[in-house]
């Protein structure tokens, strides 16, 4: 009988190794699981975590502690310094949000082509379609609930120039918020091309 109980005990211990709900389960070689250098999207703020196998007791925190105390909120990632320009990309768009009228004179740096339109359609389906709808009528799955999404071919906006569209994607207008942080400048100009085809329909 004792043997049976012992066996059942072993099974229960082993089963409890697996991950479930809030418990990530037992790690096989934890020192090799947790990154020593800062990693994006993983941050261990608790200094106690991993102190039971600390390989460097002098650093004053546990093995798995991984936060940068010099960043705001001890984040491991940091925003680029203000006014830095990214390499290998077009120059930043400097017009502030309130210069909507000025933006009308901004010209697109990309040429019209079949390929651009194809790529633009993919981008449109990623970033715009759920509000603006397949045909830009403002009837996307979210747009119906969000309300107030203007159809591209409606009288008020169908003649807006490319610079205007780019500015609105970047900074938003009315109920729409700016999408400049999500979509790169090149991709925004591509989306403008596709939106123009929907304006003309």
């Amino acid at each position: 009988m004792r043997k049976i109980i012992f066996n059942i005990f072993i099974i229960i211990t082993l089963i409890s190794c697996s991950a479930k709900n809030d418990d990530p389960g037992v790690e096989y070689a934890p020192n090799m699981y947790h990154s020593v250098p800062y990693e994006p999207l993983s941050q261990v703020k608790d200094e106690e975590i991993g102190s039971w196998l600390d390989s460097n007791p002098d650093d004053g925190h546990g093995e798995f502690y991984n936060s940068n105390p010099y960043n705001p909120y001890s984040m491991t990632m940091r925003e680029p310094v203000e006014n830095t320009v990214r390499r290998g990309s077009s120059l930043p768009y400097r017009l502030p949000k309130d210069s909507l009228e000025l933006s009308a004179s901004v010209k697109s740096p990309i040429e019209d082509s079949e390929d651009v339109l194809k790529e633009a359609k993919v981008l449109y389906d990623r970033y715009c379609v759920h509000c603006h709808g397949e045909k830009g009528m403002g009837d996307g799955s979210v747009g119906k609930v969000y309300k107030g999404v203007t159809a591209y071919n409606s009288r008020a906006v169908k003649d807006k120039p490319e610079g205007h569209i780019f500015h609105v994607i970047t900074h938003g207008k009315g109920r729409m918020w700016g999408h400049g942080s999500q979509i790169s400048i090149e991709d925004r100009w591509k989306i403008v091309k596709y939106v123009q085809t929907l304006q003309r329909q």
Partner: protein
């Protein structure tokens, strides 16, 4: 005057109350006709103008306005009774101008509707007249529409509640059926035993010999059964098999976080966002095509919609406060690939053309996200052995594919271009 009918009722008793009821009924019946009559009255508007106005209204106005409910802007029922036609036309043409001119009604309207500016529309006076005519026409006939909508809502509710109950009812019925079968079988054995014994008695013991009688009269002996070699053998085999299997399974779960489903600081549901509203994964996980990590969206991406939607709900309030304080939300990471292995999203999604769901599973059905795949080395290797390289339209692979095809008839798999090399993932 009002007391008269009651007095009459008392005097004439039952017959008159019936008569009175008839009158009431006839009045009730006549009400729908009155509405229709009203509709006919509203036909004084030129149908072609109304039709033109309807097209213009539906093409330009419905995103922000409805006749009977507030959408973004005010409900437009009887708008012509609130302001003069000149005022309405001026507001539609350039609302900003009217507000800036200090018009009290316009300024109040602007403040009441969250300072949202109405887009300017350069309609001609004729078109404006058509739109207003359409609104006037709609204003006079809204009652029936509302009733129809309410009925639809009720029917929908009933249908869904019945379908969810059906499951439990069928389960219960199955259970009852099972119990009845067991009971009937039990009764049947008992009855047949009794019947055989009765027949045996009638034939004075000629029907059954000693052995038969032993079978018929045998009682089920649990103690004897348990101690029998067969039972001990079978049970110990099952026990050992289950034990060994559970031990092996248990050992295999060490270091595997499949099904890890941490509670997140905000009860965000992928089922609603990716499932119901079909928002593309890329909209929030913007890094997936351009970097190693797919990225957890920053607060401003949540605010793209939730600056407006459901701002009064407690879970959304958490986003709003984080946004106001410019503080990041501390989501709990679900997929913790060990630091000893390298994985790159861009390589798999942008170049390889792998769908998100291949590794992350049915995210659009998860309220709380859990780790769907094992993320073990065996799992990675297996996919690299089975998956063909997505070389279509990618000149980088052009010569590799030619080279591969010259020496092999099978399509080029990931393993053929070094997908199994140690240093690809471990360095």
């Amino acid at each position: 005057m009002q007391t008269k009918p009651t007095k009459l009722l008392v005097h004439f008793g039952v017959p008159f109350s019936q008569f009175f009821g008839l009158i009431l009924l006839s009045i009730l019946l006549s009400i729908p006709y009155q509405i229709i009559a009203q509709d006919e009255e509203s036909q004084e508007y030129d149908p072609s103008v109304v039709k033109n106005g309807e097209n213009l209204f539906k093409g330009n106005c419905t995103v922000c306005h409805a006749i009977n409910e507030v959408v973004i802007g005010p409900a437009l029922k009887d708008v012509h009774e609130r302001q003069t036609e000149e005022w309405i036309y001026a507001f539609i043409k350039n609302s900003q101008k009217v507000i800036k001119s200090g018009d009290e009604y316009a300024v109040n309207l602007y403040n009441e509707y969250n300072k949202t500016l109405m887009t300017s529309f350069d309609f001609s006076d004729e078109e404006l007249n058509a739109i207003l005519t359409y609104i006037k026409d709609e204003s006079s006939r809204e009652i029936q529409v509302v009733v129809a909508d309410a009925n639809q809502g009720l029917e929908g509710g009933e249908v869904s509640s019945v379908s969810s109950d059906n499951l439990y009812i069928s389960l219960g019925l199955n259970l009852i059926l099972l119990l009845i079968i067991i009971f009937v079988l039990f009764r049947f054995t008992n009855l047949s035993k009794k019947y055989v014994l009765l027949k045996d008695n009638q034939s004075k013991g000629k029907l059954l010999d000693e052995e038969d009688l032993e079978v018929v009269k045998s009682q089920f002996n649990i103690k004897k059964f348990i101690k029998s070699n067969k039972f001990v053998g079978i049970t110990s085999f099952i026990f050992i098999a289950v034990f060994v299997k559970s031990c092996i399974d248990g050992l295999y779960t060490i270091g595997i976080q499949q099904n890890y489903q941490p509670t997140q600081p905000i009860a965000f549901s992928h089922k609603i966002h990716a499932g119901q509203y079909e928002i593309d994964c890329n909209y929030c996980h913007t890094g997936v095509n351009i970097s190693k990590s797919a990225n957890i969206p920053s607060v401003n991406i949540c605010m793209n919609c939730h600056g407006v939607i459901n701002t009064d709900k407690p879970e959304i309030q958490k986003i709003l406060t984080a946004y106001e304080e410019n503080r990041p939300i501390e989501w709990v990471r679900v997929h913790n690939l060990p630091d000893l292995a390298y994985f790159n999203h861009k390589q798999h999604v942008a170049v390889g053309g792998i769908e998100c769901a291949t590794c992350h599973g049915p995210i659009e059905e998860m309220d709380v996200v859990y780790q769907y795949s094992e993320l073990t080395m065996g799992w990675c290797i297996n996919c690299h052995r089975e998956t063909e390289v997505n070389a279509k339209g990618n000149d980088y692979y052009k010569k590799l594919v030619e080279l591969h095809n010259s020496s092999s008839k099978k399509p080029m798999k990931v393993e053929d271009i070094g997908g199994l090399e140690c240093s690809k993932c471990h360095y």
